[in-house]
Amino acid sequence: MDISRIDQIIDKHDGEASSLIQILLDIQSEHNWLPKEALKRVCERLQVPMSRITHIATFYKAFSLVPKGRHQVHVCMGTACHVRGAQRVLDTVQEVTGVKPGETDSDLKFSVETVNCLGCCALGPVMEVNGKHHGNIAPSQIASVLNNCE
């Protein structure tokens, strides 16, 4: 945990309390989660109570208070994907990885997350693995995509 890096992020936002969400998003995007020490630092520097930080960190889906896996699998559960069989995609992802949505496996390999629309609905159902979209994905193709992850 590099505190000076956290300070840099806070400084980038001029240390303003109104930028709290933006600061947490930056930390999250660097670490994939919000480590406790980082939050403590934010709390000290911005002079906002820890309770408010935890409230925000639990209110918004983007934040995680536990470490995430090396491979992030997002299954779109938006309406367009839903009518094209997103539930079956999610079921299959769960079967292949053994990870439930919102959870990470014990050796930190996969984190599985559902999202409500990735904005490319024309390609639904969509699964995103480490930022790469797999459009029109059929349950039968999922195992081979995920087995390529180390």
């Binding site: 925000i56 209110f59 559960m77 367009a80 299959t92 409500n116 904005g119 024309a122 459009g135 349950p139």
Partner: protein
């Protein structure tokens, strides 16, 4: 880049940019919108660069990535100018042929053109494709003309002329008058007249005012705001600055969801470039008007799209709605008057100023003027963004533009308005789409999502889906919303899992009434998907409850898979792909499914070759017993 400090300088700069453009010089435009990028547009652009270099054509031919023109299903989309040839589903492997054939020899690569499925004729240009022919793309058509990362491209098509006109030829009252005359209604949900909010803020005594772009687009299945903000960010920025001038604001915010990283990148870049040119910052274009703008990322909560919640989030707190006894237009961000409008609403503003309110009102119906962008998705042949004048019928959109339902399936319903909206059944296909007609039909415009459903979609499941979505997204602050949604979900889940009871429909209707007493529109409108599906598809509810049958063969707990012994040819496809190893089969052996092991994933149904069609889905009847061992051999 030089700062432009007068309208004359702007026009000079524009002339200079346009003069540098040689209309005869070949240009390859590739859609770099989210959908096309997901289908490999970046690789296609890279392949063009390499190929042009290989032929020594880098200086003779321009290449650019543009915004989304809407036909996302057929992406990556490549347009070749000056001819305007439109190639669809282009892969990196096609690039060499396009360069040698089309660019060098001026010949067309037929197989990459749009082919009319009915007649087999091919369309050379975008405007020849039926999908586009039936639209009126006032806003969306600019996307493909520009590289959204270059302000010069926007200036070349007349960008910031409206801002210049407003600052130097119109008073704020004039601007207000024009917007009022246009009767522009908000594109983000309720369809509230834009001028009323603007006027309310303008008249508020507080001198500090804000203008805000709602680019949260929390509505699942909708992506028009994304396409606009990624594809033509300056048009939104220009609209926002004009609005700021009209209401007397000097600061603005753009609230974008973090799930849209490209939108965040492009709007930030647009703001930087606009600042360099002098369209934002101090003394804009030398007019004395100051305006600055900040981008704020959302962190993924549907409720944050609600106006008061969004403003709370802008203050850096958890975005929860609050009662609006006093409108946010009077008391919004940090209690200052704040005008919040949707992305598409803002994008209309520069056009209304440049072309006039009369031009704008020449499109649309009595109460809903202009055009509206819909995201046409789900079970429809041509998925993507569609811009039509208000008042066009649902049938026109689905049949003429959308090309109907794929796979020979039957149309069942179209869902509009997102989680706050409702379903429109086949009998109402001739409904004209405008704000008031949709509301009358028990649905709503919402932000413009249109999700098409065919016979395979279960309407009870769709109601359950939306309620489940809203259960996760409700901030939980008020009891009717929190408890009402939870109870509705419990009843709906029971029905879709075969545990429905007589009286459940009435119970849902009762719960819907009490949920409507919630604080914000999320809870108030939550019953809509339930009530509209009950209203139009009551018999599907009854089949689930009474006959324990899902007529659409969709609810997992109520269906089973069965291999028809007469039809199975023992090809083994299902056997190999069943993830649960629930299928017993072998060479020349009729396959059977072990119902105990089957997880109902449906893979066997998908992979059984259509010429056999041996796998059946059944619901509401017992699964036939597997045929005995000695009868399984195929002669």
């Amino acid at each position: 880049m030089t700062r432009l400090n007068s309208p004359e300088k702007l026009e000079c700069a524009r002339k200079e940019i346009v003069s540098r453009i040689d209309p005869t010089k070949p240009c390859i435009s590739v859609c770099a919108g989210a959908g096309c990028l997901a289908s490999g547009a970046a690789e296609v652009i890279a392949a063009f660069k390499t190929e042009l270099e290989f032929h020594g054509l880098t200086t003779e031919v321009n290449t650019k990535g543009t915004g989304c023109p809407g036909f996302c299903e057929r992406g990556p989309i490549v347009m070749i100018y000056p001819e305007g040839i439109c190639y669809l589903k282009v892969k990196p492997e096609d690039v060499a042929e396009i360069v040698s054939h089309t660019i060098k020899e001026k010949k067309v690569v037929d197989r990459l053109l749009y082919e009319d499925p009915a007649t087999g004729t091919r369309a050379l240009r975008e405007s020849d494709i039926p999908y586009y022919k039936n639209q009126q793309r006032n806003i969306l058509s600019e996307n493909i003309k520009i590289d959204s990362k270059r302000i010069d491209d926007y200036l070349a098509i007349g960008g910031y002329a409206a801002l210049s006109k407003v600052l130097f030829e119109m008073t704020p009252e004039d601007v207000m008058g024009e917007i009022k005359k246009s009767n522009l209604r908000g594109r983000g949900g309720g369809g509230f007249p834009a001028w009323r909010k603007w006027e309310e803020s303008r008249n508020a005594p507080d001198p500090i005012k804000y203008v805000i772009v709602n680019a949260d687009e929390g509505d699942p299945g909708a992506f028009m705001d994304r396409a606009l903000i990624e594809g033509n960010p300056h048009s939104i920025l220009e609209g926002l600055i004009i609005g700021a001038y009209a209401v007397g604001a000097h600061e603005g915010f753009i609230y974008v969801r973090q799930e849209y990283p490209l939108a965040v990148e492009n709007i930030n870049l647009a703001i930087r470039q606009a600042a360099e040119r002098g369209f934002v910052g101090k003394d804009i274009l030398g007019s004395g008007f100051d305006f600055t703008v900040k981008v704020h990322m959302g962190a993924g909560a549907f409720v944050c799209g609600e106006s008061s919640a969004l403003m709370t989030a802008l203050e850096g707190r958890a975005g929860e709605p609050r009662p609006k006894y006093i409108h946010t237009a009077v008391k919004g961000v940090w209690d200052h008057p704040s005008v919040l409008n949707n992305v598409e609403t803002w994008a209309n503003v520069p056009q209304i100023i440049t072309k006039g309110a009369d031009w704008f009102t020449s499109y649309g119906t009595e109460g809903s003027k202009g055009t509206k962008i819909f995201s046409l998705v789900g079970k429809i042949t041509n998925t993507g963004l569609v811009e039509v004048p208000m008042g066009v019928t649902v049938r026109n959109i689905i049949e003429n533009i959308g090309g109907g339902i794929p796979g020979g399936k039957k149309f069942k319903a179209v869902q509009t308005g997102g989680p706050s909206g409702g379903c429109i059944p086949e009998a109402m296909l001739d409904l004209p789409v405008d704000f008031d007609e949709l509301t009358k039909a028990g649905s709503m415009m919402g932000s413009g999502g249109m999700i098409v459903m065919d016979e395979d979609t279960c309407m009870v499941d769709i109601a359950r889906y939306f309620i489940d979505f809203l259960k996760d997204e409700s901030c939980g602050k008020c009891t009717p919303c929190r408890e009402g949604i939870r109870q509705m979900l419990r009843v709906l889940t029971n029905i879709t899992t075969g545990k429905g009871k007589e009286g459940d429909i009435e119970l849902l209707e009762e719960l819907a009434e009490s949920t409507g007493a919630a604080l914000c529109a999320l809870g108030k409108s939550a019953p809509n998907p339930v009530l509209s599906t009950i209203r139009y598809f009551r018999e599907e509810y009854e089949a689930h409850i009474r006959d324990k049958k899902c007529p659409a063969l969709s609810c997992k707990e109520m269906i089973a898979f069965h291999i028809d012994p007469e039809k199975c040819k023992a090809c083994g496809s299902c056997f190999r792909q069943c993830p649960a190893e629930a299928i017993h089969g072998g060479k020349k052996l009729i396959h059977i499914i072990d119902q105990e092991k089957c997880t109902k994933c449906g893979t066997c149904f998908d992979v059984c070759p259509s010429r056999f069609g041996a796998v059946r889905k059944i619901s509401g009847e017992p699964v036939p017993a597997p045929i005995p061992e000695d009868k399984r051999a195929i002669a």
